[in-house]
Symmetry: C2
Subunit: 112 residues, 2 copies
DNA sequence: ACGTTAATTAACGAGAATGTTAAACAAAGG
DNA sequence: CCTTTGTTTAACATTCTCGTTAATTAACGT
Protein backbone atom coordinates (compact mmCIF):
# COMPACT_ATOMS: atom_id res chain seq x y z
CA UNK A 1 0.00 0.00 0.00
CA UNK A 2 0.99 3.58 -0.62
CA UNK A 3 2.93 5.00 2.28
CA UNK A 4 1.18 8.33 2.61
CA UNK A 5 2.08 11.02 5.04
CA UNK A 6 -0.31 9.91 7.75
CA UNK A 7 1.10 6.40 7.66
CA UNK A 8 4.60 7.76 8.09
CA UNK A 9 3.52 9.83 11.07
CA UNK A 10 1.63 7.04 12.81
CA UNK A 11 4.44 4.59 12.14
CA UNK A 12 6.91 7.02 13.69
CA UNK A 13 4.72 7.30 16.78
CA UNK A 14 4.33 3.53 17.09
CA UNK A 15 7.73 3.16 18.72
CA UNK A 16 8.01 3.84 22.48
CA UNK A 17 11.61 5.01 22.19
CA UNK A 18 10.63 7.58 19.60
CA UNK A 19 7.70 8.80 21.69
CA UNK A 20 10.06 9.13 24.65
CA UNK A 21 12.42 11.16 22.49
CA UNK A 22 9.57 13.49 21.54
CA UNK A 23 8.66 13.81 25.21
CA UNK A 24 12.22 14.78 25.99
CA UNK A 25 12.30 17.32 23.18
CA UNK A 26 9.14 18.92 24.53
CA UNK A 27 11.32 20.14 27.40
CA UNK A 28 13.80 21.66 24.98
CA UNK A 29 16.21 20.92 22.16
CA UNK A 30 18.82 18.24 22.74
CA UNK A 31 21.82 16.62 21.11
CA UNK A 32 21.97 12.97 20.05
CA UNK A 33 24.00 12.02 23.10
CA UNK A 34 21.61 13.78 25.43
CA UNK A 35 18.68 12.03 23.82
CA UNK A 36 20.41 8.66 23.99
CA UNK A 37 21.33 8.95 27.66
CA UNK A 38 18.11 7.58 29.22
CA UNK A 39 18.10 4.51 26.98
CA UNK A 40 20.03 1.28 27.04
CA UNK A 41 20.38 1.15 23.28
CA UNK A 42 23.32 2.12 21.13
CA UNK A 43 23.96 5.53 19.63
CA UNK A 44 23.48 4.36 16.04
CA UNK A 45 20.04 3.07 17.03
CA UNK A 46 19.12 6.49 18.38
CA UNK A 47 20.52 8.08 15.25
CA UNK A 48 18.16 5.97 13.16
CA UNK A 49 15.18 6.82 15.33
CA UNK A 50 15.96 10.47 14.84
CA UNK A 51 16.05 9.95 11.10
CA UNK A 52 12.60 8.36 11.24
CA UNK A 53 11.25 11.26 13.29
CA UNK A 54 12.82 13.74 10.92
CA UNK A 55 11.35 11.97 7.90
CA UNK A 56 7.92 12.16 9.53
CA UNK A 57 8.45 15.87 10.07
CA UNK A 58 8.24 15.48 13.84
CA UNK A 59 11.65 17.01 14.39
CA UNK A 60 14.03 19.32 12.59
CA UNK A 61 17.76 19.22 13.07
CA UNK A 62 20.52 21.77 13.11
CA UNK A 63 24.25 21.50 13.36
CA UNK A 64 26.47 23.52 15.67
CA UNK A 65 30.11 22.44 15.59
CA UNK A 66 30.08 18.67 16.03
CA UNK A 67 26.73 18.65 17.81
CA UNK A 68 23.45 17.93 16.08
CA UNK A 69 20.54 19.49 17.87
CA UNK A 70 17.02 18.14 17.45
CA UNK A 71 13.97 20.35 17.76
CA UNK A 72 10.36 19.27 18.18
CA UNK A 73 7.94 20.06 15.34
CA UNK A 74 4.48 19.00 16.43
CA UNK A 75 2.65 19.99 13.25
CA UNK A 76 2.36 16.34 12.13
CA UNK A 77 0.62 15.60 15.43
CA UNK A 78 -1.96 18.18 14.48
CA UNK A 79 -2.52 16.35 11.20
CA UNK A 80 -2.87 13.04 12.98
CA UNK A 81 -5.29 14.53 15.47
CA UNK A 82 -7.26 16.07 12.62
CA UNK A 83 -7.68 12.64 11.10
CA UNK A 84 -8.82 11.15 14.40
CA UNK A 85 -11.28 13.96 14.97
CA UNK A 86 -13.48 12.39 12.32
CA UNK A 87 -14.18 9.66 14.87
CA UNK A 88 -14.67 11.88 17.87
CA UNK A 89 -18.42 11.26 17.87
CA UNK A 90 -17.72 7.59 18.51
CA UNK A 91 -16.06 8.18 21.83
CA UNK A 92 -17.05 11.60 23.09
CA UNK A 93 -19.96 11.15 25.50
CA UNK A 94 -20.84 14.83 25.34
CA UNK A 95 -21.77 14.52 21.69
CA UNK A 96 -25.49 15.10 21.32
CA UNK A 97 -27.60 13.34 18.73
CA UNK A 98 -27.89 16.65 16.90
CA UNK A 99 -24.12 17.09 16.84
CA UNK A 100 -23.73 13.63 15.38
CA UNK A 101 -26.41 14.33 12.82
CA UNK A 102 -24.80 17.60 11.77
CA UNK A 103 -21.41 15.93 11.49
CA UNK A 104 -22.90 13.20 9.32
CA UNK A 105 -24.53 15.77 7.07
CA UNK A 106 -21.27 17.65 6.77
CA UNK A 107 -19.23 14.61 5.91
CA UNK A 108 -21.80 13.72 3.26
CA UNK A 109 -21.38 17.16 1.72
CA UNK A 110 -17.61 16.84 1.69
CA UNK A 111 -17.71 13.65 -0.36
CA UNK A 112 -17.96 14.57 -4.09
CA UNK B 1 11.11 -2.45 23.05
CA UNK B 2 8.00 -3.01 25.12
CA UNK B 3 4.90 -3.02 23.00
CA UNK B 4 2.63 -0.92 25.18
CA UNK B 5 -0.95 -0.11 24.41
CA UNK B 6 -0.20 3.18 22.69
CA UNK B 7 2.32 1.53 20.40
CA UNK B 8 -0.25 -1.07 19.41
CA UNK B 9 -2.80 1.64 18.62
CA UNK B 10 -0.42 3.78 16.57
CA UNK B 11 0.91 0.74 14.74
CA UNK B 12 -2.64 -0.26 13.85
CA UNK B 13 -3.29 3.21 12.47
CA UNK B 14 -0.08 3.25 10.45
CA UNK B 15 -1.60 1.13 7.70
CA UNK B 16 -3.75 2.87 5.05
CA UNK B 17 -5.91 -0.19 4.49
CA UNK B 18 -6.72 -0.36 8.18
CA UNK B 19 -7.54 3.34 8.31
CA UNK B 20 -9.83 2.87 5.32
CA UNK B 21 -11.53 0.00 7.13
CA UNK B 22 -12.13 2.24 10.14
CA UNK B 23 -13.52 4.91 7.83
CA UNK B 24 -15.92 2.37 6.38
CA UNK B 25 -17.00 1.20 9.82
CA UNK B 26 -17.76 4.76 10.80
CA UNK B 27 -20.69 4.50 8.41
CA UNK B 28 -21.93 1.36 10.08
CA UNK B 29 -21.05 -2.22 10.96
CA UNK B 30 -19.92 -4.49 8.16
CA UNK B 31 -18.96 -8.08 7.43
CA UNK B 32 -15.50 -9.18 6.32
CA UNK B 33 -16.60 -9.52 2.71
CA UNK B 34 -18.18 -6.07 2.73
CA UNK B 35 -15.02 -4.59 4.19
CA UNK B 36 -12.84 -6.40 1.66
CA UNK B 37 -14.89 -5.31 -1.34
CA UNK B 38 -13.17 -1.93 -2.04
CA UNK B 39 -9.68 -3.42 -1.89
CA UNK B 40 -7.67 -5.45 -4.33
CA UNK B 41 -6.19 -7.66 -1.67
CA UNK B 42 -7.21 -11.14 -0.61
CA UNK B 43 -9.75 -12.01 2.07
CA UNK B 44 -7.15 -13.54 4.40
CA UNK B 45 -5.24 -10.27 4.26
CA UNK B 46 -8.35 -8.37 5.35
CA UNK B 47 -8.93 -10.94 8.04
CA UNK B 48 -5.50 -10.23 9.46
CA UNK B 49 -6.02 -6.48 9.34
CA UNK B 50 -9.21 -6.96 11.33
CA UNK B 51 -7.32 -8.99 13.88
CA UNK B 52 -4.80 -6.17 14.26
CA UNK B 53 -7.59 -3.64 14.70
CA UNK B 54 -9.34 -5.88 17.20
CA UNK B 55 -6.10 -6.37 19.16
CA UNK B 56 -5.71 -2.60 19.32
CA UNK B 57 -9.26 -2.32 20.61
CA UNK B 58 -10.33 -0.28 17.60
CA UNK B 59 -13.06 -2.71 16.65
CA UNK B 60 -15.14 -5.39 18.32
CA UNK B 61 -16.59 -8.35 16.50
CA UNK B 62 -19.77 -10.37 16.76
CA UNK B 63 -20.97 -13.47 15.00
CA UNK B 64 -24.37 -13.94 13.45
CA UNK B 65 -24.73 -17.23 11.59
CA UNK B 66 -21.72 -17.43 9.30
CA UNK B 67 -21.21 -13.69 9.18
CA UNK B 68 -18.74 -11.85 11.36
CA UNK B 69 -19.69 -8.26 11.90
CA UNK B 70 -17.12 -5.64 12.84
CA UNK B 71 -18.02 -2.61 14.91
CA UNK B 72 -16.00 0.55 15.40
CA UNK B 73 -14.70 1.29 18.90
CA UNK B 74 -13.00 4.64 18.84
CA UNK B 75 -11.95 4.72 22.49
CA UNK B 76 -8.31 3.96 21.59
CA UNK B 77 -8.35 7.02 19.36
CA UNK B 78 -9.26 9.06 22.41
CA UNK B 79 -6.22 7.63 24.20
CA UNK B 80 -3.98 8.43 21.26
CA UNK B 81 -5.36 11.94 21.05
CA UNK B 82 -4.87 12.35 24.79
CA UNK B 83 -1.21 11.50 24.37
CA UNK B 84 -0.81 13.97 21.51
CA UNK B 85 -2.56 16.69 23.46
CA UNK B 86 0.57 17.03 25.56
CA UNK B 87 2.17 18.58 22.48
CA UNK B 88 -0.70 20.81 21.49
CA UNK B 89 1.14 23.91 22.68
CA UNK B 90 3.77 23.21 20.02
CA UNK B 91 1.40 23.57 17.12
CA UNK B 92 -1.68 25.43 18.26
CA UNK B 93 -1.24 29.09 17.34
CA UNK B 94 -4.06 30.15 19.63
CA UNK B 95 -2.14 29.01 22.68
CA UNK B 96 -1.32 32.08 24.74
CA UNK B 97 1.91 32.39 26.68
CA UNK B 98 -0.11 32.08 29.87
CA UNK B 99 -1.72 28.87 28.68
CA UNK B 100 1.66 27.43 27.90
CA UNK B 101 2.98 28.53 31.27
CA UNK B 102 0.03 26.98 33.12
CA UNK B 103 0.44 23.74 31.19
CA UNK B 104 4.12 23.66 32.06
CA UNK B 105 3.36 24.24 35.73
CA UNK B 106 0.77 21.51 35.71
CA UNK B 107 3.01 18.98 34.06
CA UNK B 108 5.68 19.79 36.64
CA UNK B 109 3.21 19.10 39.44
CA UNK B 110 2.24 15.79 37.89
CA UNK B 111 5.86 14.61 38.16
CA UNK B 112 5.93 12.87 41.62
C1' DA C 1 -25.86 -36.04 4.22
C1' DC C 2 -24.06 -32.51 0.85
C1' DG C 3 -22.92 -28.45 -1.28
C1' DT C 4 -22.60 -23.38 -0.73
C1' DT C 5 -21.19 -19.33 1.53
C1' DA C 6 -18.32 -16.83 4.99
C1' DA C 7 -14.29 -16.50 7.24
C1' DT C 8 -10.10 -18.19 9.40
C1' DT C 9 -5.76 -20.81 9.83
C1' DA C 10 -1.55 -22.78 7.80
C1' DA C 11 2.47 -22.38 5.29
C1' DC C 12 5.34 -19.67 2.95
C1' DG C 13 8.09 -15.50 0.92
C1' DA C 14 9.66 -10.73 0.17
C1' DG C 15 10.76 -6.68 2.23
C1' DA C 16 10.91 -3.40 6.15
C1' DA C 17 12.13 -2.36 10.96
C1' DT C 18 15.23 -2.58 14.84
C1' DG C 19 19.10 -3.71 16.98
C1' DT C 20 24.22 -4.77 17.10
C1' DT C 21 29.50 -3.74 16.33
C1' DA C 22 33.09 -1.76 13.59
C1' DA C 23 34.55 1.72 10.58
C1' DA C 24 34.18 6.38 8.74
C1' DC C 25 33.34 11.25 8.87
C1' DA C 26 33.30 16.12 10.90
C1' DA C 27 34.78 19.59 13.74
C1' DA C 28 37.50 21.26 17.89
C1' DG C 29 41.47 21.89 20.09
C1' DG C 30 45.89 20.95 21.99
C1' DC D 1 48.97 17.24 12.47
C1' DC D 2 46.88 14.15 15.60
C1' DT D 3 43.62 13.08 19.12
C1' DT D 4 39.26 13.55 21.16
C1' DT D 5 34.39 14.10 20.92
C1' DG D 6 29.99 13.67 18.56
C1' DT D 7 27.52 11.46 15.19
C1' DT D 8 26.61 8.80 11.07
C1' DT D 9 27.26 4.96 7.73
C1' DA D 10 28.21 0.10 6.64
C1' DA D 11 27.41 -4.56 7.21
C1' DC D 12 24.98 -7.83 9.27
C1' DA D 13 21.39 -10.73 12.16
C1' DT D 14 16.82 -11.17 13.83
C1' DT D 15 12.29 -10.32 14.08
C1' DC D 16 7.93 -8.14 12.27
C1' DT D 17 4.71 -7.05 8.65
C1' DC D 18 1.97 -7.79 4.81
C1' DG D 19 0.88 -10.25 1.12
C1' DT D 20 -0.04 -14.71 -1.33
C1' DT D 21 -2.51 -19.55 -2.18
C1' DA D 22 -4.35 -23.79 -0.33
C1' DA D 23 -6.66 -26.06 3.20
C1' DT D 24 -9.87 -25.88 7.13
C1' DT D 25 -13.68 -24.59 10.07
C1' DA D 26 -18.48 -23.01 10.79
C1' DA D 27 -23.15 -22.46 9.79
C1' DC D 28 -26.87 -22.41 6.53
C1' DG D 29 -30.09 -24.44 3.03
C1' DT D 30 -31.73 -28.23 0.42
Amino acid sequence: MTDDRLSTIFAALADPTRRAILARLAEGDATVNQLAEPFSISLPAISRHLKVLEHAGLITRSRTAQWRSSSLQAEPLREATAWMDRYRQFWDESFSRLDVHLRRIQSEEEKP
